[in-house]
Subunit: 236 residues, 2 copies
DNA sequence: TGTACATCAGTGAACGCGCGTTCACTGATGTAC
DNA sequence: TGTACATCAGTGAACGCGCGTTCACTGATGTAC
């Protein structure tokens, strides 16, 4: 049984890699992603600069790994939330998960959803992770019944649904709801985390909450007191 | 009458400053704001590096000037649009102005609304420019009538309206509408400009349009139950 | 009008720094007989 | 069990580069009498 047991060396390798990434996050938190320096990380770990090249081919590979981990952590949180029981207040719970993830580490949020890093292009497998998240979101958006109203944008979505490949039979209203969820919540979060609400005196959490509540009325306008509101009343 | 006529030297100074900023924007477009280099700009203008210190005290002052100009250009566009005739389709026009401004120069958009530059803090006068924009927006949001429904978030806004100082009598629904306008449209724009819609096959312009259309139902939505609301209600 | 002086744009050398990355090398750790 | 060998982590020096910024200096331009 020598099968997949990891040698001590492999174990150590992974441990160091993990520590490098940890220090990298700390550095990003302090000075942003574009100021990430391999030498500085090495120094912080008590090693010389070139030592890191035993663990990462170059700076870009480290950044890629960070992006990958960031996507993965959000996707996992989404999936875990879906496992907790789908259906009723599914969207509200996903919204909570998204917000918590964003506030937990704003720089991680910006690495994924902020200003693109100049020369950098994300690897193909993060696209797949993004699809996983979208799939969970579409699950929560898929509601039975009432496909009546014809909305211009929903007709467009009905004809351009490649991105929702995991849900080939989802009604256009569900596709629209998923996109609306995504863009509205990122709207609040990106403004909030970039500091555009500071000094205004209002509580961004309540705006976020209001936007979650308003989702109930997306496909066709509804009442302003949705069950989602009541379900999330214990928030602050 | 020697009054405020500018000397040739002053004229020349402003001209060079302008050219420096122009090259700076080009550079930002290529490599992002954090890679902005005074030396590179000087070289591009056929001058030596230190020459720029005749025009800007340091790198930070140049960035500040770029941020200031960016804010100013959007505020001016807003104001010009408001002059064109306020009222009914006011919000839709402002939305158009915002989108055009964002797409016209994505890097300018990100400089203002993207990931904050690490050490950088915006000067106080851009806050004032931001207030000008908000004032125009609040003008467009002030619609007579329907102050009936009490919404949780609007109550919060009624108690925290310092940011809307230019409109001390605006109804809470108008305050909410302005914030919703702002965050929803930035939600679409920031995702779009960061490339999160590329490869999905859908047209972000239509999502944007749909969000603008949906604003009509923000303050007080219609009475009918939406499918989503019903679905969220039935198994709780 | 011309002459003397002050102002200011721009240069080139230099300082100190940190970056990513390569290379030849030393030592320790694991592996095979 | 010990010995011989291969693997691999980590070092220190070095390369080439570009950065922001200072400084003393040259020349041209404007100003005052």
């Amino acid at each position: 049984m020598t099968g997949s047991t990891k040698s001590p060396r492999e174990r150590y390798r992974e441990q160091v890699r993990e520590e490098v990434k940890e220090k990298a996050w700390q550095q990003i938190a302090g000075s942003g992603a574009s100021a990430l320096s391999l030498n500085a990380i090495a120094k912080q770990m008590g090693m010389s600069g070139p030592a890191l090249y035993r663990y990462f081919a170059n700076r870009d590979e480290l950044i890629t790994e960070l992006v990958r981990d960031a996507y993965r952590s959000l996707a996992d949180a989404f999936i875990a939330s879906a496992d907790g029981g789908a259906g009723r207040t599914g969207l509200a719970r996903l919204a909570q998960v998204l917000r918590r993830w964003a506030l937990e580490d704003p720089h991680r949020y910006f690495l994924v959803y902020g200003t693109p890093v100049p020369g950098y292009h994300a690897p193909p497998d993060v696209t797949e992770t993004a699809s996983e998240m979208m799939s969970v979101l579409l699950d929560a958006c898929a509601t039975p019944g009432t496909e009546s109203r014809s909305h211009a944008f929903e007709e467009h979505l009905a004809a351009h649904r490649a991105w929702a490949g995991s849900h080939p039979d989802a009604p256009p209203s569900a596709l629209r709801l998923a996109l609306t969820f995504w863009s509205r919540l990122h709207g609040v979060l990106s403004l909030e985390l970039a500091g555009h609400f500071t000094g205004m005196g209002l509580d961004p959490a309540l705006l976020y909450q209001a936007e979650v509540d308003a989702l109930g009325g997306v496909p066709s306008p509804g009442p302003d007191q949705s069950p989602v509101t009541l379900a999330l009343a214990d928030n602050s």
